[in-house]
């Protein structure tokens, strides 16, 4: 690894139920208030709704906004915040050479059209023909584009002009980890200078809750902290993008690092085997602890992106306890944003390390112990609700 370059995070864009931008998040994380939870609009489910956002700020053309479903708007907005934060907005030359890796799901449907079809279809002599006719006449032509996974990246290209390259990863939580990992690896290996990586999720939709409901994995009210009482996934609307950059490239344009991204690891435990998640995640956490500035283990914390799905979350908790490190649950603050969860957690980890301290424990989450010492490193753990284990390490940049 000696020939690998450092990778800096030089821009962060974050929007969630706690607000937008790093300042809003830092104050919300520290003022001891309860997370923002909606237990009625999607009853019986718990969701963390997106804070009020003026999309015009980052997506000035209404025409562009109309072409997107909410998850794309959230992501395009967060990407704009990240580019602002990195001082890159409008810099055509750099944006034209910026590599992009986006973690995305997609598939937001027209629920009214679906409902109307389902209401009538079983009364039809030829249900499949009826379905064709209804879809043909009622689907909005551009809805398809608002559903396609890679069109979040496409919209970021259109709205912000990021065109160096564009790749979209799918595959739930692990796509978020791998989007960051590939962006990181290319810069570390010297084949990319600057990358925009991240993802977005809109929790305020019944069609997405449906996927979790099929396996009774969506959290029912009342809300509970996920590490102590993993009884389901409390989904949360959020978008997070990070600008990753080589020190050479950043320095040449006068940019300073917020933190160093010192490693990203992903693996896939065989979930059917007892103890597999503990073993794999334990190894990844050990790898992160051994990487970077190991002299500062006493200034290290873990930020967990645990989903709240019972089995994998219990396995993660076992690893967190064994680590002996101070722990904070990202999901208890902003909910769980599936593909976006690793980028969201990484944004909060970077924020904490850049502030040099850990935010306060959450009342009612005994896994979180007070930690007042200086913080120079943060490890993010991201265990998929169904598959995939990921870990990332950020360190103070100085």
């Amino acid at each position: 690894m000696s020939d690998r370059r450092e990778v800096w995070i030089t821009g962060i864009g974050l929007v969630s139920s706690l607000g937008e931008g790093l300042e809003a998040h830092w104050s919300a994380l520290n003022d001891g208030s309860r997370p923002v939870i909606d237990e009625t609009r999607f009853a019986p489910y718990v969701v963390h709704p997106l804070a009020s956002v003026n999309f015009d700020q980052q997506i000035p053309k209404k025409g562009d906004q109309r072409q997107m479903e909410p998850w794309q708007r959230i992501g395009t907005y967060a990407a704009g915040l990240a580019l602002d934060s990195a001082g890159l907005k409008g810099n055509k030359e750099i944006l034209g050479a910026t590599d992009m890796v986006v973690a995305a799901g997609g598939g937001e449907r027209d629920q009214a059209v679906d409902g109307a079809i389902l209401t009538e279809i079983e009364n039809q002599a030829a249900p499949d023909v009826f379905l064709n006719e209804q879809l043909q006449s009622n689907l909005r032509p551009t809805l398809f584009l608002a559903q396609l996974s890679n069109l979040l990246a496409g919209n970021i290209s259109i709205v912000h002009g990021v065109t160096g390259s564009s790749r979209t990863f799918m595959g739930e939580e692990s796509s978020g980890t791998d989007a960051v990992r590939i962006g990181f690896s290319r810069i570390a290996a010297g084949t990319s200078e600057i990358a925009l990586v991240g993802g977005a999720y809109n929790a305020e939709r019944r069609d997405m809750l449906l996927l979790y409901a099929l396996k009774r994995l969506a959290m029912h009210a009342p809300w509970a902290p996920v590490l102590t009482e993993p009884k389901g996934v409390p989904t949360g609307s959020a978008g997070a993008f990070l600008v990753l950059e080589s020190p050479e490239h950043a320095t040449a344009r006068g940019a300073r690092p917020i933190v160093k991204l010192s490693g990203v690891w992903s693996d896939r435990a065989k979930r059917g085997e007892p103890g597999a998640v503990e073993k794999v995640l334990g190894m990844l956490v050990d790898a992160a602890r051994a990487a970077g500035d190991t002299g500062e283990d006493a200034q290290t914390a873990i930020l967990s992106a645990a989903s709240g799905a019972p089995d994998p979350t219990r396995a993660e908790v076992a690893v967190l306890e064994k680590s002996g490190l101070p722990v904070r649950s990202v999901t208890d603050r902003v909910g769980h944003g599936l593909e976006a969860q690793m980028p969201v957690a990484l944004a909060l980890a970077a924020l904490s390390v850049s502030e040099g301290r850990l935010f306060a424990p959450l009342a009612g989450e005994p896994m979180e112990k007070p930690f007042d010492g200086p913080l120079s490193r943060a490890i993010v753990t991201a265990v998929g609700h169904w598959r995939g284990e990921g870990v990332a390490l950020v360190e103070r940049a100085d």
Binding site: R167, L211, G388
Partner: protein, 426 residues
């Protein structure tokens, strides 16, 4: 003794196994024979009723016993068949133990109408059905298996189990450029030294009634329904849209050093990958073709060769009025006056547009073109378009020595990826 590194000092990445399934058939041999004899795999749709459809033809894969299940089921089966062929040919690893990561391009996945209808019926709703009714039924009727089946990551996950690839597989989409991206990610991982081998698969078995309607609503599909086999007309004046199709392609990528050390037969070299995104429009390309030009040039630069070194182009050639014109404009800028003399063809004239899978299938066809010294034709080229004069190898295959191919893929969302492939390490 040849060097294991390329001009840029990076590990040379070679192909040691290839597999494919298309509407023409299963396996390279069958596909190649039919492709070079100008056969079309496009046919009338029988999978679902075509009443009320503006387009009634497709290149669906209907010859497998289980064709017609859910899109992820079929996509997974197509991927598995093509990867089995590729892994067997390469002789790499051992059964169920592939020594490298998996990069898998997959189509959009979501719960489908049969499942929605079952949930709606189970909900026994008293009035208009809403998603709240579906949610209630989902919680109580034991459809656990649907959760996994309709996750984006499930196809690659199952393939990772089956082939024993290492680590967390990456599922990806760059729309119709996905196949090329799956290869590009493998090439990059080997060049970085992350691994000695990678399995790149791109698959698409997602032709459902709703998918057809969605593309139809975007006016992207051909409505030349009368003679299905004559509908896909890349670069012809009377082209009117693409033909939606299914298939899968798989490639075993290895560092040259790794392949030589185990005495593997080298089928080709992945010399270069290039990409550039387009910020012009969600479905249309920049009229100046700048991103496409940049993409092709960056593939050449990555390969360390110039435009004069390309002697065949496996075109994206979708048969839409816009793509073929834009691709011509882009190629004109890159290849200049030499363009009319470079043979190029569109496999899509015969297999249709296999969407997510197209890049990988066409990469396999590109290497078969080099291997066999025979260029597959562009069929249905009866009315040349004078605005885009090209040697499309019209209608009949041509014997020719081909040393180096460029293979283009472009997609919705401004995705452009080009590959440069050769037969043997330099």
């Amino acid at each position: 003794m040849a060097s294991y590194t390329d001009k840029a000092g990076r590990p040379i990445v070679v192909v040691t196994g290839m597999g494919m399934v298309t509407s023409l058939g299963q396996g390279k041999e069958d596909n190649w024979a039919k492709l070079t004899s100008g056969q079309s795999g496009i046919h009338r749709i029988t999978r679902f009723p075509i009443d009320a459809m503006r387009t009634t033809i497709a290149g669906t894969v209907d010859f497998l016993p289980d064709s017609g299940r859910t899109a992820p089921d079929l996509s997974e089966e197509l991927a598995a068949l093509s990867a089995e062929e590729a892994v067997a040919q390469s002789g790499i690893g051992s059964k169920g133990d592939f020594p490298g990561p998996l990069f898998c391009a997959v189509p959009p996945i979501e719960l489908e109408w049969p499942q929605r209808r079952i949930l709606a019926q189970e909900s026994v709703a008293n009035g208009p059905i809403t998603y709240d009714d579906l949610l209630r039924a989902a919680e109580t009727h034991g459809h656990d298996a649907w959760h996994e089946r309709f996750l984006y990551g499930s196809i690659a996950d199952h393939l990772a189990d089956r082939f024993g690839t290492r680590g967390q597989p990456i599922s990806l989409s760059t729309a119709c450029a996905s196949g090329n991206t799956s290869i590009q990610l493998g090439v990059e991982a080997i060049r970085r030294g992350d691994c000695d081998a990678a399995l790149s698969i791109a698959t698409d078995g997602s032709v459902t009634a709703e998918a057809l309607i969605r593309f139809s609503l975007l006016s992207a599909l051909s409505t030349n329904n009368e003679r299905p086999e004559a509908a896909s007309r890349p670069f012809s004046k009377n082209r009117d849209g693409f033909i939606i199709a299914e298939g899968a392609g798989a490639l075993v990528l290895e560092s040259l050093e790794h392949a030589m050390a185990r005495g593997a037969k080298i089928l080709g070299v992945l010399e270069g990958c290039g990409e550039m995104a387009d910020s012009f429009h969600r479905t249309r390309s920049s009229p100046d073709a700048k991103p496409v030009i940049g993409c092709m040039r960056s593939a050449l630069a990555d390969a360390g060769v110039g435009p004069d070194d390309i002697d065949y182009i496996n075109a994206h050639g979708t048969s839409t009025p816009e793509n073929d014109r834009m691709e011509f404009t882009g190629m004109s800028a890159v290849f200049g006056e030499r363009l009319p003399d470079i043979p190029l063809s569109s496999n899509k004239s015969m297999i249709g547009h296999t969407l997510t899978a197209a890049g990988a299938i066409e990469a396999v066809f590109s290497l078969l073109t080099i291997q066999n010294g025979r260029i597959p034709p562009t069929i249905n080229y009866e009315v040349p378009d004078p605005a885009i004069p090209l040697d499309v190898v019209p209608n009949v295959a041509r014997d020719a020595q081909v040393k180096r191919v460029m293979s283009n893929s472009f997609g919705f969302g401004g995705q452009n990826v080009a590959l440069v492939l050769t037969g043997e390490p330099a």
